[in-house]
């Protein structure tokens, strides 16, 4: 009882179909939690929603939390001080209306920083977080020039007091990592946590591809916008109330 070619193809097709099903089934699993030995996938995209109407003038809870979490020394000269997140104050010239908002790496879907990087050090992780692999970075700073949001900093001097989970060193470029070390543990970024406890509760973090997440629901039902949408970078950080 030998199987002919047609039969063989049918069986093969069935096997392929069941293999193809497997990743679909894992979708549900991954949306809940990722174990430490599982690689990140594009089934998720981490993002942040900033409600600028809640962002109070003079508040800098997110900035302080970021500096603390990532061990960004503030006792260095202003012109070389690392800055992963900053607050920007906008004033309407005609009405005098003043607005503040946090500005950091926007975790672009099409990141210009990665496009121009000659070494491949700047890259976008499968789950949307844009990072610098400092092992590869040569410190050319092309990415700093390319970033439309001025989100990146260069480490100018030797460092001695890095956080264990946030390695940083002289001669490399750095920017907001969306607290990747926390996200990989299933926690939220330090700025979001601080804003929710000490600030105006302006920041929401989550998986934009998970329809059940708060951020996805709000993005689907409320108005929000990118900064510089004309650049078509499809940013992972979006703003409301601009």
């Amino acid at each position: 009882m030998s199987i002919d070619r047609r039969q063989f193809l049918t069986v093969g097709g069935a096997v392929l179909a069941s293999v193809a099903l497997a990743p679909g089934m894992r979708l549900i699993e991954l949306a809940q939690a990722r174990s430490p030995d599982e690689a990140v996938t594009s089934l998720q995209r981490w993002g942040m929603l900033v409600d600028t109407t809640r962002c109070a003038e003079g508040c800098s809870a997110c900035v302080t939390a970021c500096n603390k979490e990532n061990g960004l020394q503030q006792n260095v000269r202003l012109d070389i001080r690392p800055q992963w997140i900053r607050t920007v104050t906008l004033r309407d010239e005609h009405t005098g209306y003043v607005q503040t908002l946090p500005m950091m790496c926007q975790h672009c879907e099409e990141p210009p920083c990665a496009d121009v990087c000659p070494t491949g050090a700047s890259f976008r992780r499968a789950d949307g977080i844009v990072l610098v692999d400092r092992h590869i970075c040569i410190g050319c700073r092309y990415c700093m020039m390319a970033c439309p949001y001025k989100a990146r900093s260069f480490v100018h001097e030797n460092l001695t007091d890095q956080r264990a989970n946030v390695p940083r060193g002289k001669g490399t470029v750095e920017a907001c990592t969306m607290c990747v070390h926390r996200v990989d543990e299933g926690r939220i970024p330090a700025c979001v946590e601080a804003c929710n406890s000490d600030g105006g509760k302006a920041l929401t973090f989550g998986d934009m591809k998970d329809p059940a997440s708060e951020i996805a629901k709000r993005l689907a039902t409320q108005q929000s916008e990118e900064i510089r949408p004309d650049l078509a970078l499809d940013t992972g950080v979006r703003y409301q109330g601009l």
């Binding site: 001097e157 007091d161 890095q162 990989d184």
Partner: protein
Amino acid sequence: MAMNQKKRILGAWITAIVAIAVCFGAAYALSGGPDTPVPSPLTGVYLGKGKKCVAPVSVMRRYHMQFLLNQRTLTVHEGIRTKRFLLTNCVDCHADPKTHSVLGKHGFCASCHEYAAVQIDCFSCHSPHPQRLTAESAITLAPQHSRLAEMVKTTAITQIQSDPVDGPQ
């Protein structure tokens, strides 16, 4: 005369053969199989908190750099943070409880690399201190008073001591 010449040629041959044998022997000893003992400078060095390393000692001595290299790519690019070969995990275990560091004269990493004359670059970016200590918030806010800053000063971590650059950026 002819006899003398022959002797000299024979002598040269013997010297050459012995030299080649010595070279091969040395090369064999250096490349060594897994059973060849690795010379160890570890006297008076704190070895680690755990009873056993994540792999046999002979394997770790020879291959820890490959493990770390492989792990760094997995961690940075794919977010894989299994503890086995994670540098933070190595440091947590191997940091000397007195100096809280893997660097310094008797530091687990520094002492061996100094002995082997291998300059490592890991700790210009990575913290040589256990996670539990670097998690202290005081570091950033008041570096001159923090416990960690004090330790850095007192344990003479020359390799990573800052060397401020004031030139143009």
